[in-house]
């Protein structure tokens, strides 16, 4: 009986050591594999208002995804996330129809991001936009 409990104790110790060893190996590997945060698409992005053509759109990297600013027919600027709310494709601005088309499953959105047709369940996310001295700042 004594031998058995001693064996069990040693077994637990060995098991504990194995678990500690596995954690010591897994922790750096998980850290290594975790995507590194970069600053290239920070919290805010600024560019000249002239970069947005009349009735056209400008796409840009924003917070690790893609954003878009469009100039509506009246000249008003609207900033939206360009990620389709259906399955995450990037929507395209169709200038002649003045709306967004998601080429993946034909979802359509108004210039304000509201769903017109197709499978998207939600409107495109609105992004805060400020225009000052001819410079557009999104974020």
């Amino acid at each position: 009986m004594q031998t058995s409990s001693r064996r069990e104790f040693l077994g637990f110790c060995l098991g504990g050591l194995a678990v500690a060893g596995a954690v010591a190996v897994a922790y750096p590997i998980l850290g290594y594999l975790t995507p590194v945060k970069t600053n290239e698409s920070g919290d805010r992005i600024s560019f000249a208002a002239t970069e947005i053509p009349p009735e056209g759109a400008k796409f840009f990297k924003f917070r690790g995804t893609t954003g878009v600013v469009i100039r509506k027919q009246g000249g008003e600027l609207v900033a939206l996330s360009a990620i389709c709310t259906h399955l995450g494709c990037v929507v395209q601005w169709e200038k002649e129809k003045q709306n967004f088309l998601c080429p993946c499953h034909a979802g359509r959105f108004t210039p304000d991001g509201i769903v017109i047709s197709g499978p998207p369940p939600k409107p495109l996310e609105r992004l805060p936009i400020v225009v000052a001295d001819g410079v557009v700042t999104v974020g």
Binding site: P28, I29, G31, Y32, L33, T34, V36
Partner: protein, 367 residues
């Protein structure tokens, strides 16, 4: 029945696990006088496993493009969490692998384990040694540092000394007249695909031969130390009354592996740069050869041999001859005696060879 036992029983009735365990672990008997040197093969398997694992991890961030390679390695070292650790494990591990492999080969030679019927074990091992040198050399170029660039220039240049086909071979290896971006592409492909596959295949062959022929008996602590293989028919060398692999020798394997890991991690944590001269931290510049460029420690003897001989071809031929003799040793050294103390000629050559190799390497380092 506990869940673990249920799983074991489930597998046992389907695969005959008990029989496998009996045959390869508990009933796999080894010579009673087996020693710690026999565990170096297991240590090498662990090192190769670590190299594969860290190599796969490095592939995630490394960019094999001459414009970006150095930057990507710097990024791994400075910005990726634990990137320095993974990369240093890979770089230090490659040096340790060559060192342990040399020890493994020397111990095999010293104990006469390469003698018949184990010629093929020796040959596959010798080919593995060359493949490991090849994978170390090709990996050397990948960080695209001054050291990588010029060491590869010198190493590939030696091939050019071969008569008639030398120039063509050198251009073929480099993918151009000089070392450049095409060389990186070639070396990268060879380093991450061809060589690991070839090494894996030869490890399988090496282990198959070990399993099929049986473990040799060390020529120490016994009255009879002669090779008693007759050469008439195949027979597995069994060791009746020997010690079981599991748990007895596995414990020795684990001890050797842990001692190795202790040494390896000490180098990685406390002195990782013993294998990195300052030129390893400067990006490659094809217009500027750094002064006193030296190869890795395990090529220093070869480097010095090339310098000693006035003619590059002669230097290469001497090295080629030495390697050929080593490869064919079990076919040339046919005496039955295996105890080195009863083989004075062998022992003198063995000691002389090691001293010459070390002396040439030291000379190469300081020349």
């Amino acid at each position: 029945m506990t869940p673990l036992k249920s799983i074991y029983h489930w597998l046992d009735v389907r695969l005959g696990l008990g029989e496998l365990v009996e045959k390869h672990l508990t009933g796999y008997l080894l010579p009673r006088n087996i020693n710690a040197w026999y565990s170096l093969g297991s240590v090498l398997l662990v090192i190769f496993g670590i190299q594969i694992a860290t190599g796969i991890l490095l592939l995630i961030y490394y960019v094999p493009d001459a414009e970006k390679a150095f930057k990507s390695v710097t990024y791994i070292m400075n910005d990726v969490p634990f990137g320095w650790f993974i990369r240093l494990c890979h770089a230090v591990g490659s040096n340790m692998m060559v060192a342990v492999l040399l020890l493994h080969m020397l111990s095999v030679l010293f104990m006469g384990s390469h003698k018949s019927p184990r010629e093929m074990n020796w040959l596959t091992g010798f080919i593995l040694f060359n493949l490991i040198l090849g994978i170390s050399l090709t990996g050397y170029l990948l960080p695209w540092s001054q050291l990588s660039f010029w060491a590869t220039t010198v190493a590939t240049n030696s091939v050019g000394a071969i008569p008639i086909v030398g120039e063509y071979l050198m251009t073929f290896l480099r993918g151009g007249i000089l070392v450049g971006p095409p060389t990186l592409g070639r070396f990268f492909a060879v380093h991450v695909t061809f060589l690991p596959l070839a090494i894996g295949a030869f490890i399988v062959a090496h282990l198959f031969l070990l399993e099929r022929i049986g473990v040799s008996t060390p020529p120490f602590g016994l009255g009879e130390t002669k090779n008693n293989w007759q050469g008439d028919s195949f027979r597995y060398q069994s060791h009746p009354g020997g010690i079981p692999f599991f748990p007895n020798y596995l414990l020795q394997d684990m001890t050797s592996i842990l001692i190795y890991l202790a040494i390896f991690l000490t180098v990685v944590f406390f002195s990782p740069y013993i294998f990195f001269p300052p030129t390893a931290f400067v990006p490659a510049d094809p217009f500027k050869t750094p002064a006193h460029i030296k190869p890795e420690w395990y090529f220093l003897a070869n480097y010095q041999t090339l310098k000693v001989f006035p003619n590059e071809l002669l230097g290469l031929m001497v090295q080629g001859a030495a390697m050929t003799i080593l490869a064919l040793l079990p076919f040339l050294d046919r005496s039955k005696e295996r105890n080195p103390l009863k083989r004075p000629l062998f022992l003198s050559c063995f000691a002389g060879g090691i001293i010459l190799y070390i002396a040439m390497a030291i000379w190469g380092h300081y020349s």
